[in-house]
């Protein structure tokens, strides 16, 4: 530990900081640094290098001139998006769906992970966890076929049931309002098992002596959850939520498109930026215009994550992402 020195950080706390010069540290942490290489390579190749491609959003791209030599067109590629009059609607839909997904999933994931951690029987614990995880591995396309079998007008389970009860059949594929709930529900069904793993891991990391002390003091199960479990996993919750908020303006195309498809009656309630763009541009194959929408989303996401992180930092600086 000779290379560590005691220093004061910017809020005047005493901390251990690595000592020595840059090269000395480089040698000392060589294994950690080598382990970092693949991750760095991944981000450089797949995230940083393609970033120069954003210039496409301002260009009239053609294959012969390539990305950098194609002629500039200013903001022309953005026009179609705002001209359509749907920009506000789809941006709002995208954002609200993501917020709903994040918070509904969060609450369910917390309930599930706390519930599972409280189950004493190891066998039931494993089985229930496995079952929760199943839906995560089913593709949205397959889910969309389940859905059709549930909601179809002539053969669907829901309508057959309604007919049995003497209620009239409804064409659920024409009821925009219902889809807000269907989408949030399906997303929760699919994501809860997977998401709860993180919280379950955080709960497992809590020192059991807290619980023992609480038991001795006479705290019941709910009090233990309220005063020990939840406060202990708050940092994990904040990190996960912040990470998810980072993509609050990206619609999950893989989910919305198979479920809603080209069913125009549902668009007012279900159209997100990604499905809108797909529909508008699928006939044109125009790289510039699609990049423009991508840039618009990235910009909104960037602003939003900076805001969210800033707020978290104000409240509790240890929990913020950066």
């Amino acid at each position: 530990m000779d290379s560590y020195v005691i220093k004061k950080d910017r809020v005047n706390r005493t901390v251990l900081k690595p000592g020595g010069g840059f090269f000395k540290q480089l040698i000392q942490y060589k294994y950690l640094l080598i382990m970092l290489i693949p991750v760095l390579a991944y981000y450089i190749i797949f995230s940083y290098l393609p970033m120069f491609g954003v210039v496409l959003a301002f260009k009239n791209y053609n294959y012969a001139d390539g990305i950098f030599k194609s002629p500039w067109v200013g903001l022309k590629n953005f026009e179609f998006f705002f001209q359509s009059g749907s920009a506000l609607l789809v941006t709002r839909n995208t954002f609200l769906y993501n917020i709903a997904f994040i918070f509904v999933n969060l609450i369910l994931q917390l309930v599930v992970s706390i519930g599972i951690s409280e189950i004493g029987n190891k066998y039931i614990k494993k089985v229930s966890q496995t079952f929760m995880l199943f839906p995560y591995f089913i593709s949205w396309v397959v889910v969309s076929i389940f859905c059709y079998n549930l909601f179809s007008m002539d053969y669907g389970l829901v309508n057959t049931f309604r007919a049995m009860m003497g209620l009239g059949k409804v064409n659920i594929y024409a009821e925009a309002g219902a889809w807000k709930y269907i989408l949030v529900m399906l997303n929760a069904w699919k994501g809860v098992g997977y998401g709860s793993i993180i919280y379950l891991a955080a709960i497992t990391g809590i020192d059991t002596s807290y619980y023992e002390a609480a038991k001795i003091d006479g705290a019941n199960a709910f009090q233990r959850i309220r005063h020990i479990t939840i406060p202990s996993i708050v940092p994990s919750i904040i990190t996960v939520v912040l990470l998810n908020l980072g993509s609050a303006f990206r619609g999950n195309f893989g989910m919305f498109y198979p479920l809603v498809g080209n069913n125009g009656l549902l668009f007012n309630a279900t159209d997100v930026i990604d499905t809108f763009t797909y529909r508008a541009l699928m006939n044109q194959n125009d790289f510039g215009m699609s990049s423009a929408v991508g840039l618009y989303q990235s910009l909104l996401c960037f602003i939003f994550i900076m805001l969210a992180n800033g707020i978290v930092k104000k409240i509790d600086s240890d929990s913020s992402l950066f």
Binding site: I37, Y63, Q83, N171, Q284, D286
Partner: protein, 499 residues
Amino acid sequence: MSVMKRFISTMLLGVLCIFVLVGCGDGSNIEKNGNITQLKMILIGDTPSRYEEIYGKLNEMLREDIGAEVSVEYIPYSAKTDKYPLLFSSNENFDIVFTGNWLDYNSNASKNSFYELTEDFIAENAPKTYETVPKSAWKQATVNGKIYMIPNTALEYEDYIYIVRGDFRKKLGLDELKTAEDFEAYLTGLAQKYPEITPITDLNAIAYIWSTNADENYRENFGGYRNGIMYAWDDNTGTPIYNNMTDRYERYIYKVRDFVDKGVIPADLVSNKSVANMFENGVAGTYVANLETAVNKYKTWSKAHPEWELELCDFSGDKPMKANSYINNGLSINRNSKNPEKAMQFIELLRNDERYFNLTWYGVEGEDWEDKGDGVIHAIPDEKGDYFDLGCNWGWKNQSMLKVRDDELPFKLDTMEKWVTNTYENPAANFVADDSNVKNELAALSSATTQYAQPLQYGMIEKSEIPAALQEMRSQVTKAGIEKILSDFDKQIKEFLAE
């Protein structure tokens, strides 16, 4: 020891990374091997089972004739919207590529994807092609004043042919289906008596029979689905008309809703993803396709399900027909090809040399077919009963080289003859607009039509609410800029016709 292990695993990881990076690099396939030039051709569809054999034989001839060898890479149909465009944007190495207006020929050509074919280049490397391909075909293949495609030159029609279930028709007590009225009786009869069968799932066919074909003033050859919108030209004034604004469209909307109410079409068809296989699985009453496909499917399914007593129907009546445009299928040379001359010479052989054409269209002589003289052949099935089919040879389809099978269905020959003698020529039929000035409007329109027109077209709106929904749709497409699009296209059509 553990330090050593860690070192080795780190090294291995590094090597892995390098391999991944190398994999992204440019793997050039074109190499000179002796004096033989390697050509690479991209076609659409699945690799045929006899690929090695047929192209092996072809290469034997090709080596002698022009000192080249060809290898083919097939892009599956399902990847035609993602992998196909990537061929050009990723600068992949190939020489010849299958193209056509259903593969966005115009937009790819205007993005400089293809090698420009000057008249001198064609005349020098493919003299027969230069002579035999009609002027109008070259004109269709011209984009921004330059030719980028060697179009196919076969007479094809995209008109619909219907396969219906003869067993149901008889049980319903109907005579053979000859007209639209007969067909409607069949569909509604099915809906009433056999609720487990979906009578029809193809809305385009309904639009065609009860809207466009029923319209005396509408000629199918005027207009169609292009640049992502449906439009037609007024016969008298020559101005473009947007399909969704016409009375014809309105009639169609009411007809579809009527069918939905009667149970002929399921109300949630828009979300049904298994439409394609329904007929094959015996749960749909009608299969709709073009003549070629319908006849092929008819042969296959009749053999598999003789109890269905399948019947082929044609409801086109005596309307004049539009022949498919030449640029529906064709071959182009890659802009980056290192041997455009050889590629062109190869295309010349495919199109015009009996040996190449017969091998790729009918298989090996004596084994797959016998010549009966006068352009008639007898096709010999393999042990499984299947006939030779190489797939995706339409790029070099050439009417003067095509042969007729001696066992061809009379239905196909009769229908074809009826159409050929009643083909309507329209100078603007193959016009495709340059959309660069109205891209934004087209994008807005495309999104507005899926949102506001699709529900109408699928019959999802109650009859009483149709007028309001129609009005809403029309105001939305107007907002999206349909007028600007049409006036821009109008200018271009006039220029096109003046040329």
